[in-house]
Symmetry: C2
Subunit: 232 residues, 2 copies
């Protein structure tokens, strides 16, 4: 029974799942929907109106981290540590990754410059925390990829896109290990395969639609007139 | 090695963990802290400055759902279903429970009446979704308690406290199964043991401190003058 992932093309949470599927070399189909105009069949099976969904035969699983835990339990090539306590700590930092992702999301919708700056400081504080726990390399647990790596990579990719138009976001002195880690994650083949090829252009288009402060760092001529603000 | 839970007395997320510990009859200690003035040792080990923390010897685990998964994996009296797909779906609804909890939290801090009403409608929509999946009784999976039950019980308890001062929040026709479920959860001995005995008074005191719209349904004479708004 082939797995099916319901996706929105630029969604970082879907990517978390696709990275794990790629790492484990599991075959899957992706069905893209438009979250700005979601189809009825999607609304009927997605209680939070969010992607990803994983469809397994007649069954639906929602929430990216839950889907990843299911894939981890069902398939080989284990990505969680064996030790129960280390596994739990990995999961704690996966939850922390949700705060990083939400922060990264807010950076794209905040319209007020001062609020944008405060959010950048929050992100920097998160990096300070992560810096303290990054004792292994090249990845979170050392040489092999984990669900923690799959969780953070899509957020790092978006922060990278933001940096390309805004300028440096990491602190080269304080976030040395974080920078090394994210560079390794951004180079991963599973990360490349977890997105559509034009993800960067799609992401900038999304920033333009969201019309946050950050969108003023995009070239107005490329994106046309500003419409009403929308998340999708 | 006895488990230690770091708690804030009125915290619903800590309760999720204590309910599971009670259900599994595991011995534990609780250390209460004041989140309005958190001690340095706590800030050093809690990356999100939140409770609960589970301390296992030298190790720290954070995030209530992660802690519950650890307890589930390490100890007997299993609360997750055996089936991987049902287990994943339980976890999906645990994540959904976080949205319900956040909604319940926002009901306590929103100052604007119209925003409070909109939040109540959001909560009602969540109940509509839960009503659809409640096919078993008395609990989420049927006769035995699960991590899903442990996740929702503290939120239901708070909604109950709010109802006692505000009036009905559930829709008796649309939320029939939800109402039955929450009534069963509110009767549980592990729920009672998961809080301090004066939880209701503490909760109302917290509402007063948060000074949201809902605090106007409390008797002003009992709580004294209103200070600056604070979450804790």
């Amino acid at each position: 029974m082939k797995l099916k992932v319901v996706s929105f093309k630029a969604c970082p949470f879907v990517q978390r799942v696709l990275i794990v599927l790629e790492c484990k070399r599991i075959k899957y189909d992706v069905e893209y929907i438009d979250l700005a105009a979601p189809p009825d069949w999607f609304l009927a099976i997605s209680p939070l109106k969010k992607v990803p969904l994983l469809i397994v035969g007649e069954d639906v699983i929602f929430e990216s981290n839950v889907i990843n835990e299911y894939i981890e339990e069902r398939y080989d090539n284990k990505m969680h540590p064996d030790s129960l306590i280390k596994k739990a700590q990995n999961r704690s930092w996966i939850e922390f990754g949700s705060s990083v992702s939400m922060c990264t999301f807010r950076l794209t919708i905040l319209q007020d410059k001062s609020k944008f700056i405060v959010e950048l400081e929050e992100l920097s504080n998160y990096f300070n925390q992560i810096e303290k726990v990054l004792v292994n390399e090249p990845f979170f647990n050392g040489s092999s990829l984990s669900l923690v790596d799959a969780t953070y990579a899509p957020a790092f990719q978006r922060i990278d896109f933001i940096e390309q138009i805004y300028g440096s976001i990491y602190d080269k002195k304080r976030h040395r290990k974080v920078i090394n880690w994210k560079n390794r994650l951004l180079d991963l083949e599973p990360l490349r395969k977890s997105t559509v090829p034009n993800i960067k252009e799609l992401y900038y288009q999304l920033l333009w639609t969201r019309q946050g402060h950050i969108s003023h760092f995009l070239d107005e001529e490329t994106f046309g007139n500003r419409g009403p603000q929308s998340v999708y």
